[in-house]
Point group: C2
Chain length 434, copies 2
């Protein structure tokens, strides 16, 4: 017997919008930690964030309707922190620290609105920029990416029948569960969800997070998504990202300032947060240069997050460096977070087992892996390598080199200048799939 | 086209239980305020709560399956305060007061579990008692009532077809909305949801609360249901109830202690909470006796909640008393909460308009009014007058007289003794429908 809830159905029919971003805290936790730092130390710095689609073969502007994109971006701009969210941010313990967010910061955040955006099309791609104060534009990164990625999924599912959709999700669930079963075999594994920006959809990310919670239990150490952490009583995880050294370097007026920019950011970070949050992100201008120039105290930080080198190779170099600095790697933590699939997680885990503490941040391959799930291969379901990076700070170009030349961003001439300055040893070119 | 979500459907089929109580804070806010007071001032007092079905014609033990009732009560005992709830209770502002709950109290509440229950059948009724420390048994009142009321609804809906159900809820929604439209005509109305204990179901209460939020806007001043207040960013409302003076009176060892018991409770309350929470509940042993014996300072409290006298008559007596005590009623608040329907709300509002501040606590008639909604009249959809009252404190009988003799509870001989002691002037017998 068919049951139709008339009220719901009519309501759905007249929906103007099915919002992709439902909350201001539907974002990565590290954005909030960084935001507090930016709000405190760089309140007047301007920063432009720019969308970059590295998968040029996918013509986003042809795939996604501009009106829908604008409607989603506009809706996100209507969001404000809810009372419940503000209370939770104030009252929850993050990384063992109470009141990690200052009351003044939370008061400011309560009135926060995503700033305006600038959208046009060029060569089949969207040109999407966020100009303004860094403390405002930074908050666009995750919702902008999540919106575009989910609009891609929706474009595909619009053309699918109900049974096709049903089978699609059934297969995706089965596929996900097979991963859970493999991960269960790793004793002492620590893995968390880093998949907000690249997710297939909000609802699918939530399903994956809940599946991990039930499937691997304590090995699932949390989610970077603040909203899901709150709603599912999970730990919110994540520390910091490239934008901090990128802006600091862009603002540098001398070579000495440029050379110390990454370490200066870390000094500030240590003053603000310390403890479990002292995770080094070494690859902004190449890990080799970072380690070569690093002050002694960098070796005292809790761990490293190699984010663009191949995990085993990158991890070994950091372990070598710790040993050279007289530190015991078994007391140290490596966080792997770059394009991991289950094979890479297992290989990396087995390789380093017993030699160093490890943790995995699982992104695209957790929340957007539909390969083989549709009845026929559908291009629109393949994740793309989409990022939203700071491109300018106070009008000066911002650059990221990374350990993989294909992940470099910024004006080519400026990238060249940075490469001359920091050197290019140990950079390994790898295809950037996601 | 029919779409069946196989996973969901199979999951639903194998559900052991569809829980009625989903959270420890799915209860009335005033229970938490009272609980903190009991925990602080009466930690070792024993109190028994007893279910009383005043609607004797409804044979609950015949209507409701004992196994289902036990399963629901047992499930409620598995609930613990979640982290999110604890954080919200600590961080939210209630009645303009921050941190109304002490950290030590919240730490204790975090480990709280509903205590055991004692269930048997007699003469077609359930005999349901909660023995133990007052600070534990008090928390059963609301969930026990909500469970039995929703089990009654479910018993009815089990025998209804899908279209019948669809029409039932459609009519109930239309009926509710007609009330909303009438209430909109009262400028400056202040009304809140007091309907947790008598609700048709949790989901229906939530619908009603959300309908009021959208329908009457700022005139809807909140809900007594803590969970709904949290989830819908509404004010949690409610102050105190009869159990406080009832236990205090039961513990009284002398006539002097008995006479002052209600006022002693109020003195403690004032020390603990003060301000907007100073609402007098005058009818435990009859409002006339209460006013006759009241100390001068009672007139300084913010307002009165007459809970068993007819609203206009009861309100006039309190206004008279304020005037006699030299207070301006226009500065005072009357909270009406006894069995209100829309007619009574409008009549009362029009009667007192401009003479006193008013607020309405809307209960059964808000969250359980299905009269005329089913295709034919169904007895099981009529709300019954079900309460769960403290019956003993430290082994001594507890009694409530109220302004309506039909709402008196307790051992008949003891009720008689209290009537002799407090007098019976001005009591008005009214049918107790809900």
């Amino acid at each position: 017997m068919t049951k139709t809830d008339i009220a719901t159905r009519v309501f759905n029919h007249s929906w103007k919008l099915d919002p992709i971003i439902r909350s201001l805290i539907d974002t990565d936790f590290y954005k909030l930690l960084m935001l507090q730092m930016i709000w405190k130390l760089y309140p007047d710095v301007d920063a432009t964030f720019t969308l970059i689609n590295r998968t040029k073969t996918v013509r986003l502007a042809d795939e996604i309707d501009e009106g829908e994109l604008r409607a989603q971006l506009d809706y996100a701009r209507t969001l404000r922190l809810t009372k419940k969210e503000a209370i939770w941010l104030a009252g929850n313990t993050f990384y063992g620290t109470k009141q990690i967010f200052e009351p003044e910061f939370l008061a400011w955040l309560a009135a926060f609105q995503l700033p305006e955006y600038e959208l046009s099309k060029k060569d089949g791609q969207y040109v999407l920029n966020f100009h303004g104060k860094w403390k405002e534009t930074t908050m666009w990164e995750i919702p902008a990416l999540a919106i575009i990625n989910e609009l891609r999924s929706r474009t595909v599912s619009k053309n699918m029948g109900l049974f096709t959709l049903d089978v699609l999700y059934a297969r995706a669930k089965a596929k996900m569960w097979a991963k859970v079963e493999r991960l269960r075999e790793l004793p002492g594994l620590r893995i968390s969800d880093f998949g907000t920006r690249r997710r297939h959809s909000f609802l699918w990310q939530r399903w994956c997070v809940e599946a991990l919670k039930e499937g691997i239990g304590p090995a699932f150490t949390g989610t970077s998504n603040v909203l899901l952490a709150m709603d599912s009583d999970l730990e919110a995880v994540g520390t910091n990202a490239h934008e901090l050294p990128m802006v600091r370097a862009a603002l540098a007026k001398t070579d000495a300032e440029l050379l110390s920019s990454n370490y200066d950011v870390m000094r500030d970070w240590n003053r603000l947060y310390g403890g479990n949050l002292l995770i080094v992100l070494p690859d902004t201008y190449g890990t080799a240069a970072f380690l070569r120039n690093a002050p002694e105290w960098v070796a005292d930080w809790t761990g490293f997050r190699p984010d663009s080198a191949p995990p085993i190779e990158g991890g070994e170099k950091i372990i070598d460096w710790w040993q050279k600095m007289g530190r015991d790697p078994r007391q140290k933590l490596l966080i792997f977070s770059d394009g991991l699939d289950v094979d890479a997680i297992i290989d990396t885990y087995r390789h380093f087992e017993g030699r160093v503490r490890m943790s995995f941040g699982w992104g695209t391959n957790l929340t957007n892996d539909f390969a083989g799930c549709a009845p026929r291969e559908i291009e629109g379901l393949k994740p793309i390598s989409l990022v939203c990076k700071v491109s300018e700070a106070n009008g000066r170009p911002a650059v990221k080199l990374s350990d993989n030349p294909k992940k470099a961003t910024g004006d080519p001439a400026e990238v060249e200048r940075y490469m001359q300055f920091f050197g290019t040893e140990d950079r390994v070119e790898q295809a950037v799939l996601v």
